[in-house]
Amino acid sequence: MIRVTNSTIFDRISSQLVAQQSRLAITQEKISSGKNYLRPSDGPDAVAALDRLESTVNQSEQYLKNLGRVKDKLNFQETAIVSLNDELIRCKELVLQGANGTLGSELRATLAIELRSIYDSAIAIGNQKDLDGSYLFSGYKQGTPPFSSSLDPLVFGFDGMYAGDDESQRINIDQGYGIEIGMPGSALFSSFKDSDGNKTDIFSLLKSAINGLENNDQDAIQKSIDDVNLSLTHVNIKLAQVGSKMNVVENQVNVLEDRTTTLEMAISSIHDLDYVKAVTDLKNQSIALEAGQASFAQIANLTLFNYIK
């Protein structure tokens, strides 16, 4: 039989009380913070998983932010291309009027005046800027206006009047998933063929039409009708490309929002405290502590000296 001494009794009770108190304090800390894990040692794997999940959420949110900017840029592009399309439709009407054999040279010259303003509008469209002040259609040369009205494309060629480059920006909208959102002016305004199968561009074509009307050149006007039609097809293809990119963006926004929600649910299921369980634990632990304290008082009173009178 082991000899139980006073120090054994007191040591044991006090270490039990300390342990109960520290358990209670931890539960209390969890309840007041609402978190399951307060420090890595509370669950090394879970805390590491949380760190990774939170990093993934941050990244998804960044991609959503990128998508917002991508959407802005595409909207700007779309608006510009739609107005370019409108100008070309008006141009087609004018050239068709001008092709009317009975029309006099004065009236053709009037049509040419309106066509000149369409040319200027096309230059202005080509020099539009987006939200952050960079030119929409100059490739990487975002600080340089890509088109200048003083350079005649029929003299200098498209390459001569175009001050931008052929590059287009790619933006990441997910891990390893980028879309090209830039549209260099050379791709929008040129890169298609005329009715003779030669490379041409919108500015040369407009200039030829103006010259045809001013010079009363029936053949040139006829060619311009075909060429304007071809340019409309080209511009519509570009418009469709922008539209399909907008769809991609829309879908990707949904994908990322779904992913963020799922990740946040995962985080919350690991991270958030189960209050019912925690409060029950707290209750049980405080009962245990009170019982420990009561039994200490009891045992401390239990001595033979009480009976020696």
């Binding site: 082991i2 000899r3 139980v4 001494t5 006073n6 120090s7 054994t8 040591d11 044991r12 270490s15 420090r39 890595p40 040692s41 509370d42 669950g43 090394p44 794997d45 805390v47 590491a48 760190d51 990774r52 939170e54 990093s55 941050n58 990244q59 960044q62 991609y63 932010k65 990128n66 900017r69 991508v70 952050d132 960079s134 100059s138 490739g139 990487y140 040369k141 975002q142 600080g143 340089t144 498209f158 480059d165 052929d166 590059e167 920006q169 790619r170 933006i171 990441n172 891990q175 390893g176 980028g178 050379s186 040129s190 890169s191 490379k199 561009d201 001595t303 033979l304 000296f305 020696i308």
Partner: protein, 691 residues
């Protein structure tokens, strides 16, 4: 004859002593290190008178300590283990507080840096986005630095504590030596004063909290104490002498502590202190602190190197090659504390790729996919040209035509080359341009001879031309008395295949380590790609108007030369033309910043261990596990120590109920002895009153 009065008196005296011993036990119920004492008595035996022998009362035998050497020493050993685990846990929790603090999280700082890079990739020409990236770079640097400073503090604190603990141990050792000295006069442990013995055991117990000790007890009760398990080698107390323990750091391994015994006498280096608080500190420093610091340093270096590498492969806003973003102030110290931001100007962020493409309004579209592979695709040259010929290197020797030997001159490590020979030598580029030789033989242009698959095609346009008409405007030669001397001016920048047939040749030239500036110059030289049909294209060096290659094209083929690689987005047609040249508008180019963004998820940064956030999570996970494990070990050791203490206490500690019973017992015996005296007195009275 037995004297009743003296018997009674002996009882009174003895039980007064017994009561005093019990009283002393009660008084010391809470005195640490006190061993319960018992007053042991023996009967006094009188002389034998005739047939009878009468007892003459009671005598004191001894006042003994309740002591068990085994229980005491096992309590000491348990205490050493507990204190070691407890100290480790305390420090590991401090480290956990630093690394587990979400405000200090390295991964959140690095995430923000990459978020800023993403923002910049959306608006590369925005000055504020450029500045913002540098601000986040600064924040990453500061985060590493402040982690490092917190580590430093923990390092200092634990080092200072280990010194303080060593001093405590030294002071205890000194006191113990003094106790040994006081014990000098007595030859047997039983004769030593109980208080002195208690003091001795208390000192040993206190020492065991600081370090694991082994105790050698002599017959006289004096003790010799050594550090660790063995009782011989590292004695800190020997008889009346104590030896000091000193702790110091080593310069090149700051976490490691060195323990020296008797540093001012005959110093002895102790490899490690086992057990106790001192060993706990040591374990913390070597296992937890060093590991965490090494990991964070590795992270700082991986971050620095990978970001710098991307920076250097791009062009900054004004068209200069990107400079390193981070550096180390002192590369011999811990990296996390030494990180520096080397660029402060937003324009220095290398957002652009070095090359760009002019599409010339072609039907197909050429996209560059890689422009930084120059170093890996081209190899360094041989050490000397003699090595090549001397070793009979037949690299590239073909079978179809008689060729004695051949070798490859590696373009990126030769400059101003001179070759002299009197036999037949043919020199080709890997694309089959025959640039020099005696007889053109298109049959030699085979992949097995070292020519490009693709396939390389034989072309004699530049054969034996010199000056402007020669290949890349670099070749000149002269013949004198049957010996031909060929000079290649400057760096040709691409590999040459040399096939030799007969004669004796000597060659000299300049072989050098690859020069990145030259490599870069070549990469950025303007190249025109012309489709001569939907399935054939030529590559032309624009500066020298040299057709470098004629190659076949199939859908999906890569177009590559000079270290860059490109693909065509749709089918090319006759007349499609592209020019690849140095990027002239890097400010609006975001390709290099996209390469930076990709680092965030790049597992290659840590040799496949994971990306930044995964590796950081591992560090947290590892540290959390250390805390959990040491906490479990500590709790287990606590139980063992409690048991050891109970075992010791059950022998040596005071139980008040027992003392209460003794108190009553001795009181009663005392009263009874008093009655004996009274009886003797009465007997005497009766005798006196007999009349």
């Amino acid at each position: 004859m037995a004297d009743l009065l003296s018997i009674g008196t002996s009882g009174i005296n003895i039980y007064r002593r017994s009561l005093a011993t019990t009283g002393n036990n009660i008084a010391n119920v809470d005195t640490e290190g006190y061993s319960r004492q018992t007053h042991e008595t023996q009967q006094a035996i009188g002389p034998t008178e005739g047939p009878v022998n009468m007892g003459t009362g009671v005598l004191t035998d001894a006042v003994r300590r309740a002591y068990d050497a085994y229980a005491t020493s096992s309590f000491r050993n348990s205490t050493s283990s507990l204190e070691q685990q407890d100290t480790l846990l305390t420090y590991a929790r401090k480290l956990e507080d630093i690394l587990g603090d979400t405000n200090m999280s390295m991964s959140s700082a690095i995430d923000k840096f990459f978020a800023a890079a993403q923002d910049l990739s959306v608006s590369p020409s925005s000055t504020s986005a450029r500045e913002n990236l540098l601000n986040e770079a600064l924040a990453v640097k500061e985060r590493f630095k402040s982690l490092s400073m917190q580590f430093d503090r923990l390092d200092d604190d634990s080092f200072v504590e280990s010194r303080v603990r060593a001093d405590e141990l030294n002071s205890l050792a000194k006191q113990l030596a003094r106790v040994n000295e006081l014990m000098l006069g007595k030859s047997d442990a039983d004769l030593q004063a109980n208080g002195l013995m208690d003091q001795r055991d208390k000192l040993l117990q206190d020492m065991s909290e600081l370090a694991k000790i082994s105790v050698e007890e002599t017959k006289s009760g004096r003790v010799n104490v050594s550090l660790g398990d063995s009782s011989s080698s590292f004695q800190i107390v020997k008889d009346e002498k104590s030896y000091e323990l000193a702790v110091s750091r080593i310069d090149n391994n700051p976490e490691r502590l060195v323990y020296t015994l008797d540093p001012y006498g005959s110093p002895k280096i102790i490899s490690a202190v086992e057990g106790g608080k001192i060993a706990g500190i040591e374990t913390f420093r070597n296992a937890a602190l060093k590991k965490a610091r090494d990991e964070i340093d590795a992270m700082a270096i991986a971050f620095m190197n990978s970001v710098n590498e991307v920076q250097q492969s791009g062009l900054d806003a004004v068209g200069n090659q990107g400079r390193s973003m981070f550096g180390l102030a002192d590369d011999s110290a811990r990296a996390s504390g030494q990180l520096q931001l080397l660029i402060s100007d937003g324009d220095s962020v290398a957002t652009g790729a070095p090359l760009m493409v002019d599409q010339h309004a072609s039907t197909a579209q050429l996209k560059l996919t890689n422009w930084s592979s120059v170093e890996s695709s081209l190899q360094r040259g041989e050490q000397s040209i003699d090595d090549v010929l001397g070793s009979g290197n037949s690299n590239g020797s073909g079978q179809s035509v008689s060729v004695n030997s051949g070798f490859i001159i590696e373009g990126h490590s030769t400059k101003d080359l001179t070759l002299q020979f009197d036999g037949n030598v043919e020199i080709y580029t890997r694309d089959g341009r025959h640039i020099f030789g005696t007889a053109g033989n298109s049959g030699l242009v085979l992949t097995s001879n070292g020519f490009n698959a693709g396939p390389a095609s034989y072309d004699a346009t530049y054969l034996n031309q010199t000056g402007a008409a020669s290949y890349r405007d670099a070749i000149s030669f002269s013949t004198n008395g049957g010996v031909t001397t060929l000079n290649i001016d400057g760096q040709i920048g691409e590999d040459l295949i040399v096939l030799i047939n007969g004669g004796s040749s000597t060659m000299s030239g300049n072989w050098f380590e690859e020069d990145t500036t030259l490599t870069k110059t070549q990469r950025e030289s303007e190249v025109e790609i012309n489709f001569t049909s939907a399935t054939t294209y030529t590559l032309t060096d624009v500066d020298t108007n040299t057709v470098l290659a004629t190659r076949d094209y199939q859908s999906g083929d890569e177009v590559s030369i000079n270290g860059w690689v490109a693909v065509l987005n749709n089918a090319p047609v006759l007349g499609d033309k592209f020019t690849v040249s140095k990027n002239t508008s890097p400010r609006g180019d975001n390709r290099n910043i996209l390469a930076l963004v990709e680092l965030q998820a790049d597992r290659a940064v840590f040799e496949g261990r994971g990306n930044f956030s995964e590796v950081y999570a591992d560090v947290i996970n590892d540290l959390g596990s250390v805390v959990v494990q040491s906490s479990i070990a500590r709790d287990a050791q606590q139980v063992l120590t409690d048991e050891a203490k109970q075992a010791r206490d059950s022998v040596s500690a005071v139980a008040l109920d027992e003392e209460a019973a003794d108190l009553l017992r001795f009181q009663q015996a005392y009263q009874a002895s008093a009655q004996v005296i009274q009886a003797a007195n009465k007997l005497f009275d009766w005798i006196v009153n007999v009349r």
